[in-house]
């Protein structure tokens, strides 16, 4: 490996770089630190001791916030929507990706192209018609009414990545299985799908972080408390109890921890997934 010659960079420049990196690090760590220590304070203490370490740290905000914000419901819903949509997106994308990549058809350029345009479509552009449609067909305020749009939103990038991946599998693999008399579904199930594990992992990572944090769609398509997800529930709780600092911060901490753990465990895969998913345009 080529080593950098220190002399190539002026010391002042190196100092500048260090300062920038340090500033960003502090700006991330300090608010999180402030949030966690504030969640351990009672309201009385928070008012007299804004920034310091709590004199009498108490975890009592956590059970109260958990109960008031109905975190068990929120977690169940978030896990349900995230897991189900991710699974369905992976299966549908692999199936369609296999057809687009390995079965010759005149329809492919049109169908595949329609998904590629979808990469650029955002929830915002379909939010109002989706809301009106979900009322018309009676899917407003139902689990299915949230799940179907989540699957639809994840498909464009899923199909793009799966098609590209399956194209890289040699045609001869499919052809020789055809000659042996295997049906396309058999080839899909026992050859292509197992080979596509890396792209499935990328898709799972992209979709889990997308759906887990998604706010706008659930906020619009659901009004019942029983169907709320974490972001919606947390915002509602924190808006209603804006002056109840300790509990608000406890609720924010509860909302923050799962994603941070997920990130620290799957850091490598997330990094890979993000750069693979950056194909807009």
């Amino acid at each position: 490996m080529n080593k950098i010659r220190k002399s190539d960079f002026h010391p002042a420049l190196r100092l500048f770089v260090y300062i920038m990196v340090a500033v960003f690090t502090i700006l991330t760590l300090y608010p999180l630190y402030w949030l966690s220590i504030s969640s351990l304070k009672t309201n009385t203490e928070f008012q007299i001791n804004l920034l310091g370490w709590p004199q009498r740290p108490t975890f009592s905000n956590y059970p109260t916030a958990w109960r008031l914000a109905q975190f068990d419901t929120l977690f169940v819903n978030s896990i349900f929507f995230t897991a189900t949509s991710t699974l369905v997106i992976i299966v549908f994308s692999l199936m369609a990706g296999f057809a687009f990549a390995k079965i010759r058809s005149k329809a492919t350029s049109f169908l595949h192209g329609s998904f590629i345009i979808g990469i650029l479509l955002t929830i915002q552009s379909i939010m109002v018609p989706l809301f009106l449609m979900s009322i018309m067909v009676g899917l407003y305020d139902t689990r299915l009414g949230v799940l179907i749009p989540y699957v639809g939103m994840g498909l464009p990038i899923g199909i793009y990545l799966c098609t590209e991946f399956i194209k890289s599998i040699p045609d001869s693999v499919v052809e020789s299985a055809r000659i042996d008399g295997a049906s396309y579904f058999r080839i899909f199930g026992s050859i292509v799908a197992p080979m596509a594990k890396p792209v499935a992992v990328t898709l799972a990572i992209l979709n889990v972080s997308g759906v887990w944090n998604e706010f706008m769609l659930v906020n619009i398509l659901v009004s019942r408390d029983a169907l709320r997800t974490l972001p919606v529930g947390i915002l509602k709780f924190s808006g209603a109890l804006a002056s109840d600092h300790g509990r608000q911060f406890a609720a924010l901490t509860i909302g923050l921890v799962p994603m941070v753990i997920f990130y620290l465990i799957f850091r490598q895969q997330i990094t890979k997934g993000v750069s693979a998913g950056a194909v807009k345009g």
Binding site: T28, A96, L121, P129, Y184, P231, V274, S275, A278
Partner: protein, 303 residues
């Protein structure tokens, strides 16, 4: 054998069954609504029965005219452009700088810094918004910090219509710089180290390597990053919704929030909301085409 069975081969049947689930769901919840939105924006349909409703009429571009005459539309658009500027001229250069210094090992603990700088992107935007709202509020650390610098400083960040967008822009810069860092880092790693080695042996300085080899090799990625930044800044909603909800006096509104307010707050006006969303789609496509054209004109040295 007749013609139909000849056409209906196993190959065709398999193709159809394999693509059907994805196509059906996608067309129902993405492609159709996008078109539907445009159609509705030309009518006076404002909820209720849609079929055989004698009151629904085509009204042409009335709602678009109304939108262009609404001052909140222009305030929102201006804020979207500010966010776009922060993304393109803030996040992308900073993201590149971080990626570069980490890749070339100009700083120690690159791995640690990389983890921390990307961390904000994985946290729920709602949590981030509430956290920073508290941080910048009169009882937050920011006020304390400013008061130590100049005693008696009054925190009017979220009250003053002129200032309220600044904390939002700051958080946006803080939050998404990591994404671009990750994208640039992944692509820097793809550049053949032997190429850089060779250049260094020939006596090229680090600057020359950066300008002559790395930047040209990344020109395609920079274009992708710009497209992501543009479409991303048009999408901004969650963060503003959680941080300011568009206030004070709707001065921190963005197009998505303006549309949301039009459709779901006070008395709903769905046609106007549809017009706003069609406008957003058009702007984002237009900007992306412009970026692509610029790329074709000035770039295209690699690949």
């Amino acid at each position: 054998m007749n013609k139909v069975t000849q056409w209906w081969t196993e190959e065709r049947r398999a193709y159809l069954l394999l693509v059907l689930p994805a196509v059906a769901v996608y067309w129902a919840v993405m492609a159709f609504p996008a078109v539907f939105s445009f159609v509705l924006s030309l009518t006076n349909y404002n909820g209720g029965v849609i079929f055989n409703n004698p009151n629904i009429r085509l009204v042409g571009f009335t709602h678009y005219l109304r939108m262009f005459n609404d001052r909140f539309f222009w305030i929102s658009l201006k804020n979207n452009l500010l966010i776009m500027a922060v993304s393109v001229f803030g996040q992308i250069p900073l993201g590149f700088l971080f990626a570069y210094v980490i890749h070339r090992k100009l700083v120690k603990f690159g791995d640690f810094f990389q983890t921390i700088i990307y961390l904000p992107c994985v946290i729920s935007t709602i949590v981030v918004g509430r956290l920073w709202q508290s941080f910048f509020s009169p009882y937050g650390p920011f006020t304390k910090f400013m008061q130590t610098l100049s005693p008696g400083w009054e925190n009017e960040l979220f009250i003053d219509p002129q200032l309220a967008i600044l904390p939002v822009l700051f958080v946006i810069l803080w939050m998404y710089t990591g994404t671009y860092m990750i994208i640039f880092l992944a692509n820097l790693q793809k550049i053949d180290p032997a190429l850089i080695e060779a250049a260094r042996i020939d006596g090229a300085t680090e600057w020359q390597v950066l300008i002559r080899i790395m930047l040209p090799a990344l020109s395609g990625v920079i274009v992708t990053a710009c497209i992501l930044a543009i479409s991303g800044s048009l999408k901004s909603f969650d963060l503003l919704y959680a941080m300011t909800a568009g206030n004070p006096a709707r001065r921190t509104s963005v197009l998505a929030l303006y549309m949301y307010d039009t459709a779901f707050r006070h008395s709903p006006n769905y046609p106007l909301a549809n017009a706003i969303s069609v406008f957003m789609v058009l702007v984002s496509f237009l900007l992306i085409v412009m970026v692509k054209l610029t790329e074709m004109k000035f770039g295209g040295r690699e690949e």
